[in-house]
Amino acid sequence: MKALRLHAELDAVWRTPRTWKGILTNVNHSDLGLRFMIAATVYFAIGGVLAMLIRAQLATPRSAFVGPEIFNQLFTMHGSLMMFMFAIPFFEGLAMYMLPKLLGSRDLAFPRLSAFGWWCYLFGGFILIVAMVLGLAPDGGWFMYTPLASKTYTPGINADVWLLGITFVEISAVCASIELTVSILKLRAPGMSLGRMPIFAWYILVTALMMVIGFPPLILASTLLEVERAFGWPFFDPTRGGHPLLWQHLFWLFGHPEVYIIFLPAAGVVSTVLPVMVRHPLIGYGWVVGSILALGFFSFGLWVHHMFATGIPHLALAFFSAASALVAVPTVVQIFAWLATMWAGRPQMRLPMLYISGFFFIFLLGGLTGVMLAMVPFNWQVHDTAFVTAHLHYVLIGGFIFPMMAGLYYWLPRLTGRMSHPLLGRLGFWLTFVGFNLTFLVMHLTGLLGMPRRVYTYDAGMGWDWPNLISSLGSFVLTIGFAAALIDIVLAVAFGRRSPRNPWRASTLEWALPTPVPSYNLASLPQVETSDPLDRRHDLAAALAVGDGYLGRVRSGLRETTGVAIASGRLSEIVVLPGNSWLPIVTAAVTGCFFLAMLFGFYWLAPVALIAVIVLAWHWAGSLGSRADLGPIDAGRGERAPAHHEMKEAPGWWGSVFALTADATFFMSLLFGYAFLATVAPGWPPPSLVEPSLLAGGTLVAATLLAWWAERAGFAAMQAGMARRARLGLGIALAAVTVALAALIAFGWLGLPSPRIHAYGAVVWVLVAYGGVHLVIALVMLAFVWRRLLQGYVSPARLLEPRIANLWLRYAVVANLIMLVVVSLPGIASWRW
């Protein structure tokens, strides 16, 4: 009875109504996670159909099914959809759905950000799909090498569709990465220290951190290329001081970690599911955590192995070759941890385990061909042939799809409360497995026989006819296999046998939730004492349902969950989460307007959209917070903790830290690009250097330092509760940032060369623009804090917002000073007043 009443109370606060309004304003992580997974599956199906068309064309020599124009769109869209619209969103969805349940939390740290990411993903996908239906799809390959993708050689809108559509989707990925990082670090059940976290959370943590650092280089590359295409700033044009390889460096700086970003979550599924299937806890937990950390770290040092044939000196290639080989080691450590676990346990061939076995077989082969490709001479021979196509599908399908299928079948009872049909699932597996190997094993041979990739046809008599025909037949078997698995899952959802609550007798918390999953996940949150909470306490689920854990109550209609100290997992705060909101979808739509304005060349509209985004962001931040100090509140189980606004390092602060990390990576990639062009590109030194204006530069330095100082004084006053002094400090800081912005504009105007003539001018203008954007952000944030101070949202106990503004202001100051030095130094001799 108590459980029912508690359910009714919590549900009233957390529920999303089943109406149109409910669908559009929903911020619940379970719903959004499912949406991501379903949409990603739709994109997988679309990408799969494109693959079938590719294989149909290549089945026979001199086939006239499609011409090169269409074929180029086919493989470009296939690759782009699979990488950006399927693989990443799919695991994001899975992580969003599962993580709070695994960690014993009620939602993710920034529910509205999840929703915003979802709408960006949806709208960005529309741009790509509509373009494809209209026959305007990108056609430069999924890595869009310049100069082929530059305006001269791709004059149409096709490349812009890729650059803008994919960047739009990337915003969603970056949001998800920050969201997941902070949620794992801060939003767990009390007592769950880092060392007791389910291993899956470690994998997603490392993956999310890699995304924080990995995506900015690609966003930078896309921005530069789009600016080059739209306004003629020659970053990649070798006739005007640019360099085509700049694109490749930036792209693969993202692209190689991307491969691990896709693989790690899948490996996380293996590390979660395999121990349950063999009835033994994972052996070598610490080793596995260490090896994924190492993997995440080293994967950023390998990007050049995609560029072995670009004429980089052999010594450098040898270095990257060795590094690429070395990165196999952490993966082998994981493999042996899995093998040891199997050895200690009693493996059972249930369906998830069958998929894991398929993964072992396929991924192992893919990894081995990967090591072969890391050997430079071999790479020169097979680079850009069908061998590489085969390798990458062994890694991606073997290393991503098979484990994800295992995970899907493993968590199916969790997702739907039902079990699937034992026979149909196995049939699906075997068709997929056989079809896959038929298609791609042979493709290794085709590549060794010299068939390049991305060719729309070939002549008979090169020895390529039979292998291609076999590949094409195999790919149809593969598709039938996927279709069977899909039908199996749909049938299970509709008619499957009801499953017991914990059908695999697993030990992680997600199996303590009732089915269907309540809007608030757990009626009260557990105290976690071991790494396998369900094994120790079989009555845990029932105890939590009646409110025996933390937060088993509703406090003034707020959505609450527990926040913990990062390492120890001690209860540190009660995090108050926002409810359903229109802001995410509206903000995503306005962001979409920006991208469409860029796409169709309505450049006047783009800034308008950006201003609208700022206004929305203001409301977004303004709708949270509290006007009263509450002090520690009752958290259940006899413990008390403050609300998160009264904490120094609340989730929002950490969110800013990671957003700034991404931002700093963007900046460093930009500086790298500048250094690269200056040292490698033809046509340097440029015809004219910056003539730095001493007055403007000096004012910029003085004003930013003044802002730093004044904000600090204002913050100290807020800490001391002196509102008037605080307003004075903030006011001076605001004025100083405004002056700094004016000085920056003057600096650019007076001394910078035109951005259209030489890549040098283009790069320094981008650097100045970067500084300017950050001054504007700091300005808006300071104004926001000023306003919040007036409205009474800030007190000596409630300093979260000033602390966040402080981070951004300081970043803006440092970035501007670095920028100023970098831009001024080369032309310092020709300074002027």
């Binding site: 090169p68 090896s291 082998v332 991305r454």
Partner: protein, 184 residues
Amino acid sequence: MLLGLSALSFIVIFGIFILAWRRDRSRKVRLRLFLIGGGLVFPLVLLTIATVYGVALGERITGARTSPSLTVEARAERWHWQFTRQTGRGSVTRPNVLHIPAGRTVEVIVTSSDVIHSFWVPRLAGKIDAIPGMRNRILLRADIPGRYNGVCAEFCGTGHTAMNFSVVAHDADGWAAHDKDVLP
């Protein structure tokens, strides 16, 4: 070599995977054996061998120490190749067919006038990209006279598939005749 190492690793790892399914084995796990032996030592040894071998081979192929007997420029343009040879009496440019003497090492300087292409003669050497603004270098050596097919190996647009060329390696007599033919 590479294939052998790969096969060995596959057999070891997948072998253990298969053996783990046997029901009548001991379930004692020697942690060090698995994690240090299998996870660290095993891959490190094999990878070191492979990498050293690969780097040594690469050094030989790039031929830091061999001096070529002839230098030609290969210029890629959507969608064909121009091969230019500097001689004492001026330069000769020919489209899509590269003539070389058999049994001698030829240096090809590869560049492009528009987008990135890649110069590849599968039976003679690895590939090297033709990048506008860069002059890359590759060594070719055909020991047996004859005609070898070459392709463009970097996607370069709609004509990519058809951007073939050929290399004709002449024996000593043939080369002399060819020389006389092309030189004014």
